[in-house]
């Protein structure tokens, strides 16, 4: 708690600078690492990330320790005399070429295993087509006749205008909320078929662990299965530069229980059918 407090003091100090921003309650100082996420795959990725990170830290401690030791021990000002005969040592050179090979294998094996799991797209239970466009997403529940667009919500959109005068900290989930989130069931292997309508976009929800490019003319596959008890809202963004409003096409996934999801799907399908019947012919389902 004390550390938290000290951090927010620091934030306050930073705020005194000319471009001061108000100090917020939800401090970002603690955001230092990837989160384990809410799927089996995302946890495996997180574990892999941490494994490789700690290996790097270990190597860093050895190499930097060696360097810092040398920098202190062999200073000319402390009378160090250079050992000019030390120019080559086959044994040690072979050793430090070989040891990294084993370290790399230790990283590559679990990485390859996880990768095989990620690429296993069999037995999916629900397929949704995701189309990125400039600048938003279209979600099409292929087997259920539900199709709608998902764009940056109005509050964020108003605040993000150049010199809007609206303080972004007053907007709930600024730049990370949409008008119509993607709704999926928890505990179900959901397959996304991802494509682009105009330029390349990329669909990413960090809590699910994966991202995939939305490429015009091509269809990419991505799947996830959210833990059954992890219902709720998950947020992400487009991560491939796609033009002027690339920074303003968030992704929100509303993960519901299976029963809630079925009810929602049914109601939405009926609603859209009704709307299509009422509307004059050429109007799209949602705007």
């Amino acid at each position: 708690m004390m550390i938290r407090y000290a951090y927010s003091k620091l934030a306050a100090a930073a705020a005194l600078l000319p471009l001061a921003a108000p100090v917020r309650a939800d401090s970002g100082w603690g955001l230092l690492n990837m989160t384990p996420g809410v799927t089996d795959i995302s946890r495996k990725i997180y574990a892999l990330h941490m494994e490789v990170f700690w290996i790097c830290v270990g190597i860093g401690v050895v190499v930097f320790g060696w360097m810092i030791w040398s920098l202190i021990a062999f200073r000319k000002s402390k009378g160090a005399v250079a050992d000019t005969s030390l120019v080559h040592n086959t044994k040690i050179e072979i050793l430090w070429t070989a040891i990294p090979v084993f370290i790399l294998i230790a990283m590559a094996v679990p990485a390859a295993r996880t990768l095989v799991d990620i690429e296993d797209t069999r037995n999916t239970e629900l397929t949704i087509k995701v189309t990125g466009f400039q600048w938003g997403w279209n979600y099409d529940y292929l087997d259920d006749g539900v199709n709608y667009f998902s764009r940056l919500d109005r509050a964020s959109d108003a605040a993000r205008q150049l010199l809007s005068g609206i303080d972004p900290t007053t907007v709930p989930n600024y730049l990370l909320s949409v008008d119509h989130p993607l709704v999926v069931p928890a505990g179900v292997k959901v397959r996304l078929l991802i494509t682009g309508a105009d330029v390349i976009h990329s669909w990413w929800v960090p809590a699910f662990g994966l991202k995939k490019d939305a490429i015009p003319g091509f269809i990419n596959e991505l799947w996830f299965r959210v833990d059954p008890d992890k219902t709720g809202l998950y947020r992400g963004q487009c991560v491939e530069l796609c033009g002027r409003d690339h920074g303003f096409m968030p992704i929100v996934v509303d993960v519901r229980s299976k029963a809630d999801f079925s009810a929602w799907l049914k109601a939405t399908a009926a609603e859209q059918k009704q709307a299509a019947a009422n509307a004059p012919a050429a109007t799209p389902a949602a705007g």
Binding site: L31, L32, C56, L71, V87, A111, L175
Partner: protein, 538 residues
Amino acid sequence: MAYAQVAVAHDDHSSHDDHKPHGWRRWVYATNHKDIGTMYLVFAGIMFFLGGSLAMLIRLELFRPGLQFFDPLFFNSLTTMHALIMIFGAIMPAWTGLANWQIPLQVGAPDMALPRLNNFSFWILPFAFLLLLSTFFVPGGAPAGGWTMYPPLMLQGGASFPMTIFAIHLMGASSILGAMNVIVTILNLRAPGMTLLRMPLFVWSWLITAYLLIAVMPVLAGAVTMLLTDHFFGTTFFTAAGGGDPVMFQHIFWFFGHPEVYILILPAFGIISEIIPTFARKPIFGYEAMVYAIASIAFLSFIVWAHHMFTVGMPLAGELFFMLTTMLIAIPTGVKVFNWCATIWKGSLTFEPPMLFALAFVFLFTIGGFSGVMLAIVPADFQYQDTYFVVAHFHYVLVPGTIFGIMAGVYYWLPKWTGHMYDQTLGKWHFWLSAIFVNVLFFPQHFLGLAGMPRRIPDYAVQFTDWNMVSSIGGFGFGLSQLLFPYLIWKCIKHGVPIGNRAWEGAHGLEWELPSPPPFHSWETPPTEAVLARAAVH
């Protein structure tokens, strides 16, 4: 004319020494490697400050959430132009400038092998960048599709689109000509007795870099030409509707792009391998291993390109292949770092500015290497790709890596070029400010990326505010600190203390056998075996 001078040089050196052309002719008609080297370095310096100013504007907009200064499209132009200017305008010309100055001095050659080509390859550059920079003033603004120029987005560019492509063609031509000159000089103009395995490592690193340049710059030219024909002449290389493939562009681009990142870093490896022995007063450890490591890195650079595009949807076998080849790069890179450490071990160390920059290079480049290994791990890359983690990674290898390498080189050789020792205290100030601020600037970007902030966005969710502010403060600090550098150089030229041949006690190499500054035409008589032996770097 330069050929003639080189040919007749042997009989009357002294009279030729002051035969410089005067006034503007000296620079426009320049064929002397030192003059051309100076022009390259000055050009690179100007571009460094220009590209840096754009970076300051980027950090200004990102200081806090909300859009305070720029339209998002202009922000995209800033990031695109920052990258193009820094890569093609600052770093690559700086390396060519250092090559021009140093390679003839270091291999005992009277000049570069192809002096007129040398003039041409330099003078292409100002025009290329005039063309590129003028895009800021055309309808639609400067290119905003990222320096990677991915279609179809790039094809949406306005008037800037063909101008950018022609500018890139010009820069590519300049690089290829410069690289040819380096190769011919190294292979044909070495002094008798200067065998390949006696060459300083900077020369070795440039020889390999030059081959990389010749191999991949035409690939880039091909890729952007296909973009041009797609846009204007109805081809559909990269348009799915016409049977093309937008991902093919990415394959071609990164087939250029990955070797390109080594083009940017290998000469720095060479420079660091010269500076560390000098200030450790001890020959480089494992000279031959260093040469083989550079060669292996260069070879591997051709078979790793798709690690930039793991999220495009590749088959499993492809992902595994590119993951493994990328991880392999850690081995020769590790050898280099270990050899630098072993060179320091049992040395007699002093910490003049070039050494400080070189040591910071080893530390901070290694951090960039670590994040590079992390990025190679495909499943983890699915999380890192296109976030600030990547931005942090490549800026660690490019700023405290490449840029510190260039600065280390300038601090090392400036006394040789000017004949004056610079203000070392000021140099140390420049170093410490740069080293501290560069970490304040880029280290928090690792956190931002891991916490989920995408790259190339002008505005962000409020939880990213704190680390973005820190990063911006680091950026402004780093940018301002760089102003010390031109001031120090100016002061060195005007008021520096004259020095003798060997500016640094532990320096070895043919350049230190010449007076400081070296005569306008140096090594008109090739160095004798005795001089070569005294100058031996290992």
